[in-house]
Symmetry: C2
Subunit: 276 residues, 2 copies
């Protein structure tokens, strides 16, 4: 078990970093991915990552046993020690045309990456959100999944370059806040935890699910519903969460300022339970 | 100049068929593609294909000179003789994260493919359209572009397997017909040519543009506007068009039947002028 700054790759279990140009992951974004934080040789929130991957595979009708994938990820986590595992699963190689091939051998692409280098201040003092103009399209068939069609996130993330914003707020076509470019949102509103619902768009984050379960277990179920921008600006606390960095309190969005509150600290206790 | 059933590949001009797993085309569908029909060693509608590619590169901010791409495609067309050139352009390789890399070397992937094997009856006797339930999300930022985020088309095309339907009809979230899974639509309505507008979704087909220009040049500008399903079902003639197969008359959609009309034959004269 040793962390390393070298990136290592596996394609279908073999140690190389190349895929065929015939792979439908490249041709159509026809696949899914997960980015898993590895701590002390352990792939954190692994069952939840595999659960989301499985839901995505079911929707896209990509068939691959998750049991062997689980073993591969667990072994890679031990090898990596500390860092990130990025797992891509595509439908595999095929000829031209959108039709799913009758027989397809899915491609598994695994990257062993060094730990992320986010400033500790993001967690301790909070972050500012950039208000992205790029909006999320409503596509209920794909909502919640972490698929490889991510041009909206690419465009949204390109809207700012300064390091003063650690994340960007993305709204849907109706102008309702949905998520960050790489994280989910939790708000403290009228004494309750609220999170934007993801029926129409957005990625159903593994850390979001975990935090919701923890809060529910303590008798504070999180309300999943459509949230307006006015509500978001009026909330008492706002945080971003994902399974890589955990929980970042939001202390600024445009002119609006927040203090880091007790709610954010409480969520960080939950996230630290799995990420450390 | 010789056609061949063998597929040949070039990646950045080199004769191989592999790309890095770090390529953002694979990671996020961060790129574009064109499929160009080659006839008699000539890449048909090449300037229009390059024009659309250029528009897409501008929106996605992928920088690459089109002049060298044009030369490469022209040389490949001579080499191929008859068939298809599939050109993919991605943002290139980069590390993890949605942010566009400060310095990126776009990846050019070229496939030299044999001619498509569509039955001649599709052109002569017309086709049936499958009514796809998969709808196109509204995303004006990406509408019109032929980008690599194509899961909606993959899902729509998976809705039917029988050979009785050669193409599928895709509607937008409002239920309005927009396009086929791989083609555009032209309708004969109240004595005029109409085509669904593509402001919110859909791919702006090269053959669609060409046909619109030909009709406009003959004093019959095509009306681009939102079309309802009722209007489509009530139209006198309906065709699908793309730059690979040209123009297919539609003779069936659910219970609705059409005869192949003079409008379709006229459009086929135009398409044959460039595809033969």
């Amino acid at each position: 078990m040793a962390s390393s700054s070298t990136v290592r790759y596996r394609v279908n279990g073999h140690p190389h970093d190349l895929v065929s140009v015939r792979d439908r992951g490249l041709a159509y974004g026809d696949g899914l991915f997960e980015t898993i934080r590895v701590v002390n040789g352990r792939a954190t929130l692994l069952e939840r990552h595999l659960g989301r991957l499985g839901r995505g595979m079911s929707v896209l009708r990509i068939e691959m046993p998750l049991t062997s994938l689980r073993s591969e990820l667990e072994a890679a986590a031990v090898e990596l020690g500390e860092g990130l595992l990025k797992q891509i699963v595509t439908r595999g190689e095929a000829g031209r045309g959108y039709a799913m091939p009758a027989i397809a051998e899915p491609t598994r692409i695994l990257q062993l990456l060094p730990p992320p280098e986010y400033p500790a201040a993001h967690t301790l003092k909070g972050i500012r959100l950039f208000p992205c103009a790029t909006r999320l399209a409503h596509q209920p068939l794909l909502a919640g999944l972490k698929h490889l069609n991510r041009l909206e996130q690419v465009l949204a993330r390109s809207e700012w370059q300064d390091s003063g914003h650690a994340e960007g707020l993305m709204c849907d076509m109706a102008g309702h806040p949905v998520e960050g470019t790489m994280s989910n949102l939790l708000l403290r509103l009228d004494g309750r935890w609220v999170t934007p619902d993801l029926r129409h768009c957005g990625v159903r984050g593994v850390m979001r699910d975990y935090l919701m379960d923890q809060l529910a277990a303590e008798g504070e179920p999180v309300l999943e519903r459509s949230v307006t921008l006015d509500e978001l600006l009026a909330c008492d606390e706002l945080v971003c969460c994902n399974s890589v960095f955990g929980v970042w309190p939001v202390v600024g969005l445009g002119d609006r300022k927040w203090a880091v509150g007790p709610g954010a600290r409480r969520l960080q206790v939950f996230s630290e339970q799995v990420l450390s």
